[in-house]
């Protein structure tokens, strides 16, 4: 690209030096053009770097879906669900607020006691009750609920092939993440629903790993079924 001043000859500059204001304007113009070039080139290269990077984001994916589509039937069926019959417990006021928020998204809450009951249910051994860990690989490897499958919805394509068949045959799917403010279990549950898993199977254990470990419940380290469950956990 040519400079706006490119037409000026050295002789002309020497004979008639630009007025200070004209020189300042010319300098501003040059800097303005430079900004534009840096901005355009930077954005193009940044998009290319994101596209090439194995950790790059998919620009068109909605990583934070608001709710399950056609959520009404799932909510209506919630009271007849196996978990409601088998593990009904009184909710604390905070849990009631959380349950209502999840219900608005077409999801159902399981409390810590309910999650433990489902964990001890013999159907879990038959993979009719499946636990899904919605955290990233590093967190999963550090420790997860024994037997839980990993489904990091930000890298959905890497996990769906392993997770979907089990979800399709399971009766109940308990999705959890870190706990606290973590919403990834909700997003992961909605992703699973979008991939074809019926909403009535999906349960969100909002307490997540934080609550699970605080209660001293078993934690499996490394890969699924690694058998590495430290003895300090019951």
């Amino acid at each position: 690209m040519k400079s706006p001043d490119a037409g000026h000859s050295d002789l002309a500059d020497a004979c008639s030096p630009p007025r200070p204001s004209a020189a300042r304007n010319a300098r501003l113009k040059v800097v303005g053009w430079e900004c534009l070039i840096v901005a355009v080139l930077g954005i193009v290269l940044a998009l290319a770097a994101n596209g090439i990077s194995p950790r790059g984001l998919r620009l068109t994916t909605d990583y934070f879906p608001r709710s399950i589509q056609n959520a009404a039937p799932a909510i209506a069926g919630a009271t007849q669900s196996p978990v409601a019959d088998a593990t009904a417990v009184a909710l604390t006021p905070a849990e009631e607020v959380l349950a209502a928020r999840l219900q608005a998204k077409g999801l159902r809450l399981v409390t810590s006691d309910q999650a433990l009951q489902l964990f001890r249910d013999p159907r879990r051994e038959q993979e009719l009750i499946v636990f899904i860990d919605a955290r990233n690989d590093w967190n999963y490897q550090q420790g997860h609920i024994p037997g839980a499958l990993q489904f990091d919805h930000y890298r959905a394509a890497d996990y769906l092939a392993a997770v979907l068949p089990l979800c399709q045959t399971a009766d109940l799917i308990v999705v959890y993440c870190t706990g606290g403010d973590c919403e990834d279990s909700e997003f992961a549950a909605i992703f699973l629903n979008q991939a074809g898993v019926p909403a009535e199977k999906l349960l969100v254990y909002a307490g997540g790993m934080a609550e699970w470990t605080t209660r001293g419940l078993p934690v499996e380290i490394g890969a699924r079924h690694s058998g590495n469950v430290p003895p300090d956990h019951p």
Binding site: M1, P4, A39, N50, T60, F64
Partner: protein, 154 residues
């Protein structure tokens, strides 16, 4: 003075390369942090912002280190630093009101690439970076530049 400005240019460039890479290596975490600012709602815009900003920082940082388009890069840094500092301030004020704690006790991960930071420290740091960028705009720091200005041979 020019030598000091060159050091400032290298420091600013290296800092942006480091901060940019630390975000680019964990794009999902950065995406979550950007979402918390509620700057944009549409997934395409949100993802584009989170995907490009870290690499754009790396790019501008490299330009500063190499001494290419120095003033244009400095303006770009200002265009990132000033709005970002304002939204961080806005969020810190909201957190202060919510938690009823002294302003300087507000601490959170602002998405700057350095994890959780105390807000007052972050504002001072950003203020210093803004001043440094402005200083580079004055035309100092030309020594050891590959091409100080893209459009003028200097």
């Amino acid at each position: 003075m020019d030598f000091a400005a060159v050091l400032g240019r290298w420091f600013l460039g290296a800092l942006f390369v480091y901060m940019g890479l630390s975000k680019a290596m964990e794009p999902v975490e950065f995406l979550k942090l950007v979402r918390e600012y509620q700057l944009v709602q549409h997934p395409l815009l949100l993802n584009s912002l989170a995907a490009t900003l870290p690499w754009f920082e790396v790019f501008c940082g490299l330009l500063l280190i190499l001494g290419v388009a120095v003033r244009g890069s400095a303006v770009m840094l200002l265009l990132m630093l000033i709005p970002f500092t304002l939204v961080v301030l806005q969020r810190a004020l909201a957190m202060q009101a919510e938690l009823s704690i002294p302003f300087c006790a507000v601490k959170f991960d602002c998405g700057c690439g350095a994890g959780e930071v105390l807000i007052c420290r972050k504002l001072v740091e950003n203020g210093a970076l803004i001043l440094l960028s402005l200083w580079l705009l004055t035309g100092l720091g030309r020594r050891w530049s590959a091409r100080y200005s893209l459009l003028q041979a200097e």
